[in-house]
């Protein structure tokens, strides 16, 4: 499988991570598809855990059930919800950037 099609496959089910990544920094999006597949899925799992936790921490109590419900429905549903909740989106983007910064130094 070439890099482009692997990239498409890896992010097929995880558009939230693409949504949270900075436009200026495409390191993650370009680098991840060439990492071996099990490691890539571990990275994806890690990034989800970090960003979702930050999102939950930024929610008010009544927003948490909406956040969780959107996450359970699909990444697209959560992205639509985050478009309306810009503070939570910013917090998640910051968590994502910090994680990527750490990964960049170590991988």
């Amino acid at each position: 499988m070439n890099q482009a099609s692997r990239k498409e496959t890896i992010f097929d089910k995880t558009p939230l991570l693409v949504y949270l990544s900075s436009d200026a920094d495409d390191y993650f999006l370009n680098q991840l598809p060439i990492i071996s597949n099990p490691d890539a899925s571990l990275l994806i799992r890690y990034l989800y855990l970090v960003t979702i936790q930050r999102g939950l921490a930024s929610c008010e109590s009544k927003q948490r059930s909406e956040f969780t419900q959107a996450l359970l429905t699909s990444d697209q549903a959560l992205m639509q919800w985050l478009d309306k909740e810009s503070d939570i989106k910013s917090a998640m983007k910051e968590a994502f950037d910090r994680s990527i910064l750490g990964l960049k130094e170590k991988i």
Partner: protein
């Protein structure tokens, strides 16, 4: 919340450790949302860090047929007794042997919790209604009826259409019989809801993984557990030979990596 530290290379297995720490944090900081978040992530990640249970058997040496038969015979023997609990020796033997056979840990007690019955008869229930707006076409068996009442644990936040298998194999347990129920019902409800259980058909040697979706109480004491149509059907609990005989044990599934359904031996 843990962030990658500068003195620790973030490559496997340290990345694996970082994931484990994040899961611990999630469980500690958001106990209500954690099982749902983990289920959502598992649904998205193409290859989880631990292979799903069904795939593990391919990497394991084949179990000795004689050992298997000894375990199956022990399960039949245990279920044939009139007791609703196993002796300490039987528990020790089965916990160890089943863990080797199934490749995940099972136990009679977990986190200080124990069921009033571990051996009993399972009753075929209607579909568990998980949401007030649940439609029949979201049910695993649309021809079956759904429970009319709100489940004891409350409505689930799960969307049945997005995770069709998540609620297919449900079990109702006799949690009301726990001695601590009257004083700790709030924490017990949280602890039990969506907990994974091993439900064994000891007569046909069928092993099912189901999740706790409701509380079961039979005033006549004829039945000790209740099961969803899919659990009863695929576990063969309905068969005239079995007549509902079942053994129920807790599963240790901290990473939510064990899928509900039949375990291939």
């Amino acid at each position: 919340m843990h962030q990658p530290s500068s003195d620790q290379p973030l490559t496997p297995p340290s990345l694996r450790d970082a994931v484990s720490r994040q899961i611990e944090d999630l469980n500690a900081n958001f106990p209500d949302e954690a099982p749902l978040v983990l289920a959502a992530i598992n649904d998205r990640v193409l290859e989880p860090p631990s292979p799903p249970r069904e795939n593990l058997s391919a990497h394991l040496p084949p179990a000795d047929p004689e050992e298997k038969q000894a375990i199956f015979a022990k399960l039949k023997e245990v279920s044939a007794s009139d007791s609703t609990q196993m002796s300490d020796q039987e528990v020790l033997y089965l916990e160890q042997q089943l863990a080797d056979l199934l490749n995940f840990e099972v136990s009679l007690k977990l986190d200080g919790h124990q069921l009033a019955y571990s051996i009993g008869k399972i009753k075929a229930l209607q579909e568990f209604k998980l949401s007030p707006s649940q439609q029949k076409n979201h049910l695993p068996f649309p021809e079956s009826e759904s429970q009319l009442k709100r489940p004891f644990f409350g409505w689930s936040n799960l969307a049945p259409s997005s995770t069709p298998n998540y609620s297919k194999f449900g079990i109702a347990l006799p949690v009301l019989m726990n001695t601590s129920w009257s004083t700790q019902f709030h924490s017990l409800k949280k602890w039990y809801f969506h907990r994974k259980m091993l439900v064994i058909n000891p007569i046909d040697s069928i092993f099912m993984v189901a999740e706790v979706l409701d509380i079961f109480h039979d005033p006549s004491h004829q039945y000790q557990f209740g099961g969803s149509p899919a659990l009863i059907r695929e576990g063969n609990f309905w068969s005239p030979q079995n007549l509902g005989k079942s053994i129920v044990l807790f599963i240790t599934d901290e990473k939510s990596s064990i899928s509900c359904g039949r375990v291939n031996i």
